[in-house]
Symmetry: D2
Subunit: 299 residues, 4 copies
């Protein structure tokens, strides 16, 4: 398929690479051009502006936040040069970024009005999973448009969950998933602060948990990071994690669903980001705050 | 081995049965005698008072709270008739109940003074797992005393984690584990309230989660209960879950470890128990409170 | 002084009236024109568009949220017709609305660039206080611009606190003040749920508190509303209170100040607004939620 | 009146002194005898054991916690030497300590059974107020017994609130009052962390608040301590404040009243007490934790 790909960060570059491997024709665009070299050697074409990436059947956006997706979609103040102005009728904007419910709804409406199709398909997985084509994908949008994208999902992920015809539902599932992940981090942080201060070995404790009660990769991954105290380099940076929790809370605000646990996580992230070096930490850095309180280092 | 078993509730009766199957000689005691019939037909002897259950090498207590364990151990006001007064020197009190760190320390000290041995080995698993001999066990105490109990653990559980020589460490692991479980319940409750109010099917959502990001039995078990809204009959009753969260917070108080997530769970349980029928619900009933808030049923 | 006044809601109409009484020449503008009749009979001139209210020395905005203030300041898409385009150089935009720190900073920068002056002077007090000229005012901005506005503040308020030359500081004081008020509401709500369920008369209890430990009007006002259960009609509506708590949290986010108590209030407002009739309630309606939980009405 | 007084700490010594000034005949008892010298010179008699303080019409207990009150009331293991065993029939045990609802109920029942009277009359005020006879007193118990104590209350306090015939109601009012005080501390801590980090002078801010919106002594007292950062010496030590919040939560547990704000305060105290020197701080030390988070000192 003829595809444009916008956004070549930690996640996007691996995803684009897998599309190339699967035989798709790719035109890639990144704000800072240097990032695409490896993809060019795999056969990707370079787009010098957003519009160049919008000539095919599908244009994929994989960007870090609402502002970035809004920018490339709606273009400059005059609307020129954005995806909306550049994509042909019937073609699909496939948004794989983690964005707000509100923006997803706005994009769906704008593309529909322009005779274009919009699919939201955010992904779960860290950069290694993106590189390995092992992402979990949750896709929402008009059934035929989602159908069109299925070969792309197969190239990028290990399984795809079709949530129905509302793109924003896919975004909500993504936000709720990151909320659940962050909850695991916080709960492990508190539990390990407790047993650790009592004198129990935290690695042994974690080993017990993950071989019995909580045999899920998320407990192993984050539990190890917390037990080791190795929050750098960040696989998923704290400011991005904070953004997602804020978006989950924002979704709860507009749907009128109070989420006290999400609020607790919110406050943990604000605190982490206030600390020296906090911006550069992995989001699992919130898992060390309970231990900080327990050792009284704040005094 | 010659064993006494005190406490034949949902959990204890299954555990005692597995000890009999493994060929141990069992004398069982329960405050309300009727419960032991099935065990008698398996060959158990009836104890008419606590002391009768203390004639062997090991006496196991599997009771619902601190007061009950304190009562059978220290006996009446005059100290007569309790385990402490009845157990021979060198024999072992194996406490498998979920009790406080403080009581565990007190029991360890009292038995040591009496020349007896004390092992704490609380268990993870619901009544079905107890009946099937599939419990996870965490054991703490003097190495030789724990060694003595290993054949019993093998009869009752699928694996045993030896946490070291401090009995109270085993109790702390148990409390921290129930804290982690309750966290999963609360997080699923909030996530499902959010996606459910948006119009996403909660069973499909759960199916996605548990086949991808959270492939752990605890997410399936509690997620299903919440999605179905079936909080009765209780496999683990809300008052018991509340007790365990209180004990985790109490451990955090004495160790000086603030646990804001545990406090959130605490408040959820108080609220659940204030509702009509709350006392009879499964502890996963706290997983419906976020949805209650979202639908505004409290108005 | 020659003044424009934009925004004639519950608060603005009382404030404008006091300016007229003090002898100022007023041109008033409201999106829905009918509201100004009483002011016309006091001598106010009608503005048919925003620009008409910008011919004097000072134009005051007293609007309900960021969007409204942004709209009248920056005008339509083309920027025409807004305060920024209409105000003469050297004249002052006096913003008395409760708005975000971020918007206040943006307004200050835009007016400075246009050679105009910007003062933020949000007010404390309910509509009765606005009508009586008894508001408390907190003013921030360039000293000479604030000086210019002092006679206006004297007409509208009982005292003015000059916070310095940064307009956004005045807005932050306002947001923090509403946070403190909401805290009083929540704390009284919990305390009265507790003593009330024990069987203590809530009015007697409140009488004791406010004649001894907490002799501040805020405790009397909100305590009575909660004890009476009279949350309607709203003097300050729940959605506005919610907005202010969100703005306080947003200020905390950008300044990196975690505010767990503000998060608790946030969740209370989301819950209140999910209830039937919640949007129409006074913001003190959050003070009934603890009692709802205590009686278990949510079951 | 002939009175015994047990407990001569910061509060009790001032209270006893005022009883002597009012002409009452006082026999005083303290675990550590040295403390009573000043009272002896005022005419107090020394009791060498608890029973010596129980020969009059009323015996007052003013002790630091449940254990202490339980100890002097019920005496040793054999019950000898306690107030219960020593007080004549018809005489009154006047408990002015801040104790749990549960203990207050137990004391009331025990004294009733022994033909004695029990009044709970906890006090509000710091040691200066105790010395000046300016305490606020909340009294509960049988009307005739409370009536008997009225002259004593007049000697020690500036006003007495009679809550009715249930002693534990007086204790609940006391606990709820301390909950409200701690709420003020926490809210000022968060508000000042916010405005302080923005660059606003915290003393000026506090001055504005306390001369306008919050003209109550509690805001001035605690606001100044937080703005100054002077949490030592403690007028009311953090462990005592923590105890009271725990008792408020315990009352909420047994009455089934969830108090999320009390839980937040609970966690603040655990954190404060984990810090070096935390045990010696004034309870208002929790008011510095928000600022600690804001400056990121925990990293």
């Amino acid at each position: 398929m003829k595809i444009g790909f916008i956004g070549l960060g930690h996640m996007g570059s691996g995803m684009a690479s897998n599309l190339l491997k699967a035989g798709h024709e790719l035109t890639v665009y990144n704000r800072t051009p240097g990032k695409a070299q490896a993809l060019f050697s795999q056969g990707a074409r370079a787009a010098t502006e957003v519009a160049d990436a919008c000539r095919g059947d599908v244009v994929i956006t994989m960007l870090s936040n609402d502002d970035a997706v809004e920018g490339v979609t709606f273009g400059d103040g005059d609307g020129k040069g954005g995806i909306l102005a550049s994509l042909r009728a019937g073609a699909t904007h496939l948004s794989m970024s983690t964005i707000s419910i509100a923006l997803s709804e706005r994009l769906a409406a704008a593309h529909a009005k322009a005779g274009q199709r919009f699919v939201a398909a955010p992904v779960f997985g860290r950069p290694e999973a993106a590189a390995a084509g092992k992402l979990f994908i949750c896709a929402g949008g008009p059934p035929d448009a989602v159908e069109t994208c299925m070969p792309l999902f197969q190239a990028m992920g290990q399984s795809t969950f079709r949530i129905g015809d509302k793109p924003q539902h896919a975004n909500l599932v993504k936000l709720s998933g990151n909320f659940l992940f962050a909850t695991v981090i916080e709960s492990l942080g508190e539990a390990m602060a407790l047993v650790g201060k009592a004198g129990i070995d935290r690695h042994q404790y974690l080993d017990f948990l993950t071989t019995t009660l909580f045999p899920a990769p998320v407990y192993k991954t984050y539990g190890s990071i917390i037990a080791d105290g190795h929050f750098q380099p960040a696989a998923f940076a704290a400011p991005l994690g904070f953004k997602d929790i804020r978006l989950a809370i924002a979704a709860g605000e507009s749907l009128r669903v109070p989420m006290p646990l999400a609020s607790l996580l919110h406050d943990r992230f604000v605190r982490l980001l206030a600390q020296p070096g906090g911006e550069q930490m992995d989001w699992s850095g919130i898992g060390q705050l309970a231990a900080q309180d327990a050792v009284g280092s704040g005094a």
